[in-house]
Amino acid sequence: MLALIEMKRRKLQFAMVTGVVALISYLIIMVTGLGLGLNERAGTGLLALDGEYLAYASNANLSVIRSRLTDAHVAAIEDAPGVERATPVGYVAAVVEYGPEESDTAATLGVVPGSFAEPEVVDGRQLEAPDEVLIDRAWARLAGTSIGDTLPLPVGFDSRDFTVVGVVDQGYVFFQPTVYVSLEDWQALAYQGDPSQRPAASIVLIQGEDVAGASGDGWQVVTKQEGFENIEGVQAQQSTVDALRYMGLLIGTLVIGVFFYVITLQKVSLLGILKAIGASGLFLATQGMLQVFVVAVVGVLISVGLAIVTEATLLSSDTVPIMFNTNSLVTSSASVVIGGLVGAALSVRQVAAIDPIIAMQQQ
């Protein structure tokens, strides 16, 4: 096969462009991974909730932090058309001093024990009594807390010891690992004033059908996804990451495009000869595209390897919010290969335009 023999005999040239493609593809994978990682930190804990819709206070501008709902709101939401089940969820950011001089913020969610808002534990047991807490794996990694430990959660200027009874796998909310307490405990943690004045919940988690857009006196319902997208900073973060990805893809497409354009220019006389002795334009274009495909696929495979190595070494610590999944790797890889083929398609026109008469004009 002409294309492959050429690659074999011109190793250096093709190895160089493959290397560049690998680096660009690596960059795209890392940026995509960063996007995923940041998204996960921003609010997978919210997305992981077992319901399709969220109800917010209508004056909260879809901010979980600002949203406060009363018992009357919760009751009205439960009765709204399309709602099958609804359960209140509270949110407060709690600074946890888990060791001497060591503290971090946990996104503390209050849920009714046994309700569908309470996440399933992957280890230990569900909430049963007051002063019990479920911690997320992320928190366990961060603070080294495990089942049976006590977790001091702040109440006013004081703190209250909670017992860790289970571990869940829900992720983060607002860049903080999540912990789960009962709704009553949450009320005590979040509001220290007159108990009769305490809000009943921050938001309401809803299972049902066609509830998005429903609203009533002081509350409104949106899809969970819309709630997630309205988390402070998520949209800006998403568009930044997307811009970087598209930039990387554009650069990759251009690099491959320009490389094969130059290679084709170098070979114009050769391609003319091949046409003159009976090669069709289609045959030559296929050979070119085959080379692009090999370069792109090998480059992408190298970059995926690099990314996996990076994840295993650099990213095993919890400080860099980069994560990969098969989906993102496949998408990034496929987009680089397609980008390369698109870039190289420019050269196909050039190949088609070569007049075989040039075979007679060289000496």
């Binding site: 006389s269 003159a276 002795i277 009976g278 075989p356 060289q362 000496q363």
Partner: protein, 238 residues
């Protein structure tokens, strides 16, 4: 029927004052088994004529009939196929694919499709043998000497057993003895396999080895005859 007939073929390049009439109203017939030399001064239109017969240029006017089909009227796809299957072209510059070996340069035409690969492989080895190239079969084209490259080019042109062999200056980089051998090999191929060969050359000794000699001047046929009678004509003039 003639395998190749030119009927009033003309080719001009450019427009207005820049116009060059490279070939003017040429009519010729070639039979199977004929080995023809084209001679003439530089710029007389020999290569242009060859390019038209080889399907690389379309005549400005006239017809080029190969087995009765006017190749000037072929579409792009049929033209490619015509070049692939019916023409074996040896260019003035013996154009090899530099990163392929001598043998791979022959097998290259297998990739263009339309022929059995095993048969092509046997044919390649046969031609390498005939043209005394077996010992350099595995050498990259860039490492071959001028003469070896020229012979590989000839072998490549013969690979698909074309009806027409078109050769532009085949012996330019060969010494006389090797040149004669190459031309004789071509002549044998032409006679043995009933092809027609048009060979452009400046070398009178090579030209004399063909059966028929056509002399060009300013795009026109100045003389056309068998080599023997041509030599007679020359001596008449001289």
């Amino acid at each position: 029927m003639a395998i190749l007939s030119l009927r009033g073929v003309s080719k001009s390049f450019g427009e207005g004052p820049q116009r060059v009439d490279a070939v003017r109203d040429v009519s010729l017939d070639f039979e199977r088994g004929e080995m023809v030399s084209l001679v003439g001064p530089s710029g007389s239109g020999k290569s242009t004529l060859l390019a038209m017969v080889g399907g690389l240029l379309t005549p400005t006017s006239g017809e080029i009939l190969v087995d009765g089909v006017d190749i000037a009227r072929l579409g792009a796809r049929e033209r490619t196929r015509y070049r692939r299957d019916q023409v074996g072209f040896v260019f003035q510059g013996s154009n090899m694919v530099p990163f392929l070996t001598a043998r791979e340069n022959l097998l290259l035409v297998a990739g263009f499709g339309g022929m059995d690969k095993g048969a092509l492989r046997r044919r390649a080895d046969e031609l390498l043998e005939e043209l005394d190239l077996t010992h350099v079969a595995g050498h990259l084209a860039t490492r071959l000497s001028g003469g070896e490259r020229q012979r590989v080019a000839i072998a490549r042109a013969l690979m698909r057993d074309p009806a027409l062999i078109l050769v532009d200056e085949p012996t330019a980089s060969l010494n006389t003895e090797l040149g004669e051998r190459v031309v004789d090999a071509l002549a044998e191929e032409v006679r043995g396999r009933n092809k027609a060969c048009l060979m452009v050359t400046h070398d009178e000794r090579m030209a004399a080895r063909a059966g028929r000699l056509i002399e060009f001047r300013d795009g026109r046929i100045r003389h056309d005859g068998s080599v023997a009678s041509d030599e007679a004509a020359r001596s008449d003039r001289g």
